[in-house]
């Protein structure tokens, strides 16, 4: 069985602890063995930069080194963790001096950043690690009669250097959703507007103003549910009129999990799936 390192970000913690179960369940359905990177630390979340941005490089060089120590690639379902870790990898791989300095400090913990581990997010994991054809074979039942609006979130499409698909015309989310039997509703208003998650504790009203926009757009276009790969977008946008789920939750249900096992009952805005 293929193995992958599960990077534990804050989306597996506290009120979002069920996201870990959703993730391990998803990997199980995909026939991938998840290896928890248990000494991994926070990616910085775009907040540790406000203390010292060098720490962000250090943290993520160490996170990737932990995966390399175990001989696996690194997987995170979170858009932001993915973007920040992938950006660090780019910086380290293009700056031998930075890599050398960090490795000197990492050596004290017995770790080394080599640059061999790839960084995966749910969407490129399905496309490149599992393979879309294999993915389709894992689907056991169809979620029919549901109109789903794909919502990428920002950090899998920007910055361009780490985007997991064509940032201008992405298709991967549609390719992942369609085999589940759902009807995909694209091109709705504000589909590329940010959920505002990262303003939750800097300007909370800004988050409120933004989170509702893509939901309203999707509703207007006739979608029953919005589906995002990102647990942070999910958190920011759950609780309004239009329901939102994580793509992995829908995949888990289509691969045989009960809606309850997929954590769908934990949604603030109720979701009904016809199976």
């Amino acid at each position: 069985m293929k193995k992958i390192g599960i990077y534990p970000g804050c989306c597996f913690q506290g009120a979002d602890i069920h996201n870990y179960d959703i993730t391990t369940q998803f990997l199980e359905h995909m026939g991938v063995e998840g290896v928890l990177l248990d000494r991994a630390a926070c990616c910085g979340g775009g907040v540790i930069d406000e203390t010292n941005k060098k720490i962000v490089y250090g943290l993520n060089a160490r996170n990737i080194a932990l995966a390399e120590e175990k001989g696996v690639d690194l997987y995170t379902p979170c858009n932001t963790c993915y973007m920040i870790i992938a950006k660090t990898k780019l910086a380290l791989d293009s700056d031998p001096e930075l890599k050398k300095k960090i490795n000197e400090i990492l050596a004290e913990e017995g770790l080394e950043y080599k640059g061999t581990a790839k960084i995966y997010h749910t969407l490129n994991l399905i496309r490149d690690f599992v393979g879309l054809d294999e993915y389709k074979k894992k689907i056991k039942r169809q979620i029919s009669g549901v109109k789903v609006a794909p919502y990428y979130g920002c950090h899998v499409l920007a910055p361009n250097e780490v985007a997991i698909d064509d940032p201008e015309n992405p298709t991967i989310l549609k390719e992942v959703l369609e085999p589940l039997g759902v009807e995909v509703v694209e091109g709705y208003k504000d589909e590329d507007t940010c959920c505002g998650y990262h303003a939750r504790f800097t300007e909370p009203e800004q988050k409120e103003r933004l989170a509702i926009k893509p939901l309203d757009g999707a509703k207007e276009a006739g979608a029953d549910i919005v589906a995002t790969p990102c647990p942070l977008c999910h958190k920011a946008m759950d609780g309004y009129d239009e329901p939102i789920l994580q793509v992995t939750q829908l995949i888990n249900v289509a691969c045989g999990s009960t809606p309850e096992e997929a954590g769908i009952n934990l949604n603030k805005t109720e979701v009904k799936l016809s199976l």
Binding site: Q13, E50, K53, C154, E168, Y197, A199
Partner: protein
């Protein structure tokens, strides 16, 4: 040179009728055209009423920023053939500014915001000599701190795609905030850091959502979202006390302690009021209902945390 056929789908605006609409232009042109050259071809050969701003054709003047295939950029810097998707290239005006006609937007509101942040240097008499004979020296390592930011050509690509502006039309904007950072970093500037930070705060740095779109849009590779994080760091370091600076301090402290941010106590610390306390209490209640053990409520230090803490200390000191 090879000729290719495709459709240019251009969003037009007619101010006389106050009407926006898409118009398709079928073209057969050389494959070497930039988007700007494509627009010039259409204006010259098909529709002389098509209106857009352009001047230098060399990605220097910053006149021709627009949305090309859903992303902001300079029309003169982007090859049209790279942007054809299913036989179509979509061209629209910048999103967060009102169109005047077709692809020309009213830049005034963005310039007015720029004026608000004192976008100029007020010489520090301690650094800048008071006569014209001596030079004001800036060391290369000092200039390196804001070298990139001086590349801004005010094209407004970042502004035209900014998510924070979608949430608040009064938001200052990415390039304006980069300008604040640039002057704070300039050793010759005499304006107090506190004053510059104040200018960046009203509808400013705390409203940014860190979506990275400004960085993705910038033809010069400037990362305004990173500059905004730096401005937040500076605000914190000069003693600013608010929800965001409390978050930043708590975030680093708990990551240093346990390796992870303590999300259970974060709202309480950040909000620093009854509301935050209530959020924590509700979370605890919910966790108990869901059958979580108390030690699962928040992060616990992982094995070998001492080594991790030493690592962070060394990174801070030596990197």
């Amino acid at each position: 040179m090879k000729k290719i056929k495709y459709t240019a789908r251009i969003k037009r605006y007619n101010p006389e009728e106050d009407r926006s609409y898409y118009q398709d232009f079928e073209v057969e042109v050389e494959d070497s055209l930039t988007v700007l050259e494509l627009l010039m071809y259409i204006k010259d050969k098909i529709d002389p009423t098509l209106t857009f701003r352009a001047f230098c054709r060399s990605a220097i003047c910053g006149s021709c920023a627009m949305i090309i295939n859903n992303r902001a950029g300079l029309a003169c810097k982007i090859q049209a053939k790279d942007k054809i998707k299913n036989g179509v290239i979509k061209i629209e005006p910048l999103k967060t500014l009102k169109p005047i006609r077709d692809l020309v937007v009213d830049q005034e509101p963005a310039f007015e915001k720029l004026k608000k942040i004192k976008p100029y240097l007020e010489p520090d008499p301690k650094v800048v000599p008071d006569n014209l004979k001596s030079e004001s020296l800036v060391l290369p390592e000092e200039f390196a701190r804001y070298d990139k930011q001086t590349d801004c050509i005010l094209c407004m690509a970042c502004y035209g795609q900014c998510n924070a502006l979608k949430g608040d039309s009064e938001y200052l904007g990415p390039f304006q905030l980069t300008k604040v950072f640039r002057f704070i970093m300039d050793t010759r500037d005499g304006v107090d850091v506190e004053e510059r930070i104040k200018l960046a705060e009203d509808h400013g740095i705390w409203e940014c959502v860190q979506c990275q779109m400004c960085f993705a849009a910038c033809p010069k590779g400037i990362s305004s979202c990173d500059d905004i994080l730096e401005l937040r760091r500076i605000a914190k370091d000069v003693g600013e006390e608010n929800i965001a600076t409390r978050r930043a301090k708590f975030w680093f402290a708990t990551v240093f302690e346990t390796g992870q941010i303590d999300k259970l106590h974060l709202p309480e610390v950040a909000f620093s009021d009854e509301k935050g306390k209530k959020i924590r209490e509700n979370m605890e209640k919910e966790f108990k209902q869901r059958g979580l053990r108390e030690d699962e409520f928040g992060p616990k230090p992982f094995e070998g945390i001492e080594k991790f803490r030493n690592f962070i200390k060394k990174i801070e000191k030596e990197l």
